[in-house]
Amino acid sequence: MELTLNDRKDGDWTVLEVGGEVDVYTAPKLRERLVELVGDGQYRIIVDMTKVEFLDSTGLGVLVGGLKRIRSHEGSLALVCNAERILKIFRITGLTKVFPIYDTLDEALQDAT
């Protein structure tokens, strides 16, 4: 029920740290924040999901929406996630082929493109 969102700049990346549960009730907040960031001209975003406890298809849909929006500006959206139960739903839906997914934030930042 709780969703936490915190963003900060790290070099030319914007890191959006998401915590708690992302479902149909909370996902609109995540969508809004992504829209705001892109509207602000931030086209290089890392969504750090290390502290996400639950994510379902509504959350996946918001991330896909964010990716489309960013790609229309030729930007990049990368994810940080190391929880098997969450990686599993990216795999089932074929989204591991669409998002670059890193185990840690450091790896994501180092691999920056």
Partner: protein, 142 residues
Amino acid sequence: MSLVELHLPPDTQFVSLARLVVVTAARRSGMDEERLEDLRIAVSEATTNAILSHQRTEEAQRVVLSFGTRPTDEVFQVTIADAGPGFEPLPADDLVERDWQMEGGLGITLIRNLTDDVEFVRGEGMQVHLRFGVSLSSNGAS
């Protein structure tokens, strides 16, 4: 029948309560932690769909989840019933081909892949039956 029922107003704030209640009941039926995560997502998807269907059709009735173990066949079953118009889900194999840019369909894909068995029944309203095998020998309750 010894199924528990949870009746939820068509408000998305209650999806998280549905997850908590069903997962707690299943844990007590002896389901292991990994399967509980699959159940948690499948219940969330089906309950979300049922509530959104009521919202689209301004149906004020509650969505009904009924769940429990059928001792005869070692199955934990959750039925999510709504009073909306229902839908005809795409057959399972068509879903593999989805393009990520396509809108929707992620929820049904997850439900099909995370359950041992799922049945979509369109009658008066829609009933989705999710089934998970459990080993009753490891039953946590006693």
